[in-house]
């Protein structure tokens, strides 16, 4: 154990001290933060309200326009020509001219402004006018205004899953999202760190230091120390990524929040679920309930989060161990980068296949394909993680994990047998037949 620890320590420190590790670790959270902060930033700029002057020659519109986030309407009483002349001084952004015969010729609406009006503003104004024309026509047809208002509803649905525990909230959207996310992280991590294990083995072999090392330690100890060391590097990197992304995002959004001015900020806060500062008026409550973030949180809260996290860790570790042992075996069998491809291919097939199959499994998480692929140790880390948010019987998870552990022991044994021979073999590229022979060599 002491030797494995020594090896692990070296593998860990060498990698963590590398410049590329530091760059990857610190740049990635910056990029991730940018990816979601930039749209937010622009969305917030868009909240910039335009002031709209309305000249209503028809007379039926008057004060009926409702202000929106983007537009504030102000009726004015003056002839169009003088309004146009004074427009520059008036401080308004847009001038809307509703001609007398608008009801007959709806296409006669005119919009004036100093700069070009954005498509969004144009649509907003057109929509407001359209709405009013519709209303006016309906009222003229004898329908009461109150009836009109009561017909406007906003539909959104909640889905429920029926189980022995009775009716409970579920959200297939959230389950899909979480399942996919976990599967992707596992897929990504196996590749990223598995290849690092392989490169490490190849480095030792091509540097010829391996002979010195294994005159001091057993090949299995060297392999195990390397795999565990890289695993710790991976955990460190992921932890830093999470902390840094969170930190940068929080810092950046608070800076952004200040720069958009107090009025919008309050509005934003009101839209945020659980914003404590605004009094919980009836309106705010309904807004909270309907805001998309809130519904995501609500959906997530219906899932079995501790189970998902627990299984994620187990499958993450199990999947990494299985594949990195295989990657180590590949690294030991080859001399040069050019030979890697041939042996990498069969290892990556189950990995890539399970990632592709994940999208079918998501559509039918209880199908036969889903079941079998979540039992086979090489595919289960990805497929089972896709299924778990939808709910999987406990016995299936236990069986799958047992098989995963068994699979790991099997691949570790196999990899160790190839590894101990491979690291001392130089020269020609071995065939699969030779690899098979190595497995049965006496140590």
């Amino acid at each position: 154990m002491k030797t494995i620890f020594l090896i692990l320590k070296r593998e860990y420190l060498v990698r963590v001290k590398k410049k590329s590790f530091l760059v990857m670790t610190f740049v990635t959270p910056l990029l991730v933060s940018c990816i979601w902060l930039v749209p937010v930033f622009f969305a917030m700029r868009g909240i910039d309200q335009k002031k709209v002057e309305v000249i209503d020659e028809n007379g039926k519109f008057g004060n009926t326009f409702k202000d929106t986030k983007e537009l504030v309407f102000k009726p004015v009483n003056m002839p169009v020509e003088s309004a146009k002349k004074e427009f520059g001084k008036s401080g308004y952004d847009v001038l809307v001219h509703i001609p007398k015969d608008i009801l007959e010729n709806p296409k006669d609406l005119k919009i004036y402004s100093e700069k070009n009006v954005s498509l969004e503003v144009k649509r907003g104004i057109e929509k407001a006018v359209e709405q009013e024309i519709e209303n006016i026509r309906l009222v003229e047809a004898g329908i009461d205004r109150k009836v009109l208002e009561s017909t406007k509803v906003d539909v959104s649905s909640d889905t429920f899953s029926l189980s022995e525990e009775g009716e409970k909230d579920s959200s297939s959207g959230a389950a899909t999202g979480i399942g996919y996310f976990c599967a992707f992280i596992i897929y990504f991590a196996i590749f990223l760190y598995g290849v690092q294990v392989m490169r490490g083995v190849m480095e030792e072999k091509t540097n010829r230091i391996v002979e010195v090392i294994i005159s001091s330690v057993k090949p299995f100890q060297l392999m195990a120390g390397k795999i565990l060391g890289v695993a710790l590097v991976g955990l460190t990197q992921f932890l830093l990524w999470i902390l840094l992304t969170f930190g940068i995002s929080t810092a950046a959004s608070s800076i952004l929040g200040q720069s958009v001015g107090p009025q919008n900020r309050i509005e934003m806060m009101a839209n945020q679920p659980g914003a404590a500062k605004t009094p919980p008026t009836e309106k705010a409550k309904t807004e909270q309930k309907n805001s998309p973030m809130a519904s995501v949180f609500k959906a997530i809260s219906t899932l079995n989060i501790p189970l998902i996290i627990g299984c994620f860790l187990l499958y993450f570790i199990g999947g990494y161990l299985i594949y990195s042992a295989l990657f180590a075996a590949v690294g030991s069998a080859v001399d040069s980068d050019t030979d890697v491809q041939q042996f990498m291919f069969p290892i990556t097939i189950p990995l890539v296949l399970s990632f592709i199959m994940a999208q079918f499994v998501i559509r039918e998480p209880d199908g036969a394909v889903a079941f079998w692929m979540s039992m086979i140790p090489l595919t289960s880390p990805i497929i089972m993680m896709v299924r778990i948010p939808f709910g999987v019987p406990a016995w299936e998870i236990i069986l799958s994990l047992t098989l995963l552990i068994g699979g790991f022991l099997g691949t570790a044994w196999l990899a160790a047998r190839i590894y101990r021979v491979g690291i001392l073999m130089y020269g020609k590229k071995p065939s699969y037949k030779e690899l098979a022979k190595w497995v049965f060599y006496k140590a």
Binding site: E203, N207, E211
Partner: protein, 303 residues
Amino acid sequence: MNILETRHIVKQYAQHRALDDVSIDIPRGQIFGLLGPNGAGKTSLIRIINQITGPDEGEVFFDGKPLSQEHIGRIGYLPEERGLYKKMKVGEQLLYLAQLKGLTERQAMEKLKEWFIKFDIKTWWTKNVEDLSKGMQQKIQFVATVLHEPDLIILDEPFSGFDPINANLIKDEILELRQKGSTIIFSTHRMESVEELCDHIALIHRSKKVLDGPKKAIKEQFKTHTYHVEYQGVLNDLNPAYTVLDKKPLEDGFLRANIRIPRDAEVNELVRNLIDHVSVRAFGENIPSMNDIFIKAVGEVPN
């Protein structure tokens, strides 16, 4: 007392028997030359002694006990193919390798200090291995091999890659290590260094041990009972028991001849016989060089 004994070692690879019934005894405190042409099985034997691989048949005894993991810290190994972690600092690397051999960090540090002063390489401590020249890397690797003061040191072609000055430095270190009581197994093709350093030798050829024993005894065994003489005059009418193998004139009017005498003949008789016929300038026995012995035993030129 032998520090290491191998008994009837057999190592079989798929199509090839690398070692066939190899038994050697390595006496303590000696420099033991392990000789043989390329592909004879030297490296296979060395790997078995280092427990990198195991024998298919036979046993190895270290200090009278079956070889096991506990002996790893008492063996130091310098493989023919040298290698270090290129991106690692010299100091860190040596500390790591010493710790793998069972030293604590503090012990390793103390011993490293001595070596760094001895070799005058203090400035190398924080350098990356890849920034050192090949010869410098070899020196580092030699330090790594002997740092834990092993009882048995295995050196595979230790002088390759060294310039003559550094090769001499390493040679002196090897002799000093023997002085301190270490046993050295020394595998090489360079017969002049075998001549100079080894006390014992074993010769492996085509997976079998063909020769072993103290260097002196082997030389005795390969003695040809021939003598050379430099003389003036006519070398005829010698005792018919003596065979003149060849004669050739030297530049200064003298001649040089090789003469074989029967196994039981007295050298003094030959000298007397010579003096009667010619005037002798120089006379001596032809002692076989290691090179001659190698060629004779193997039928190949060492390469």
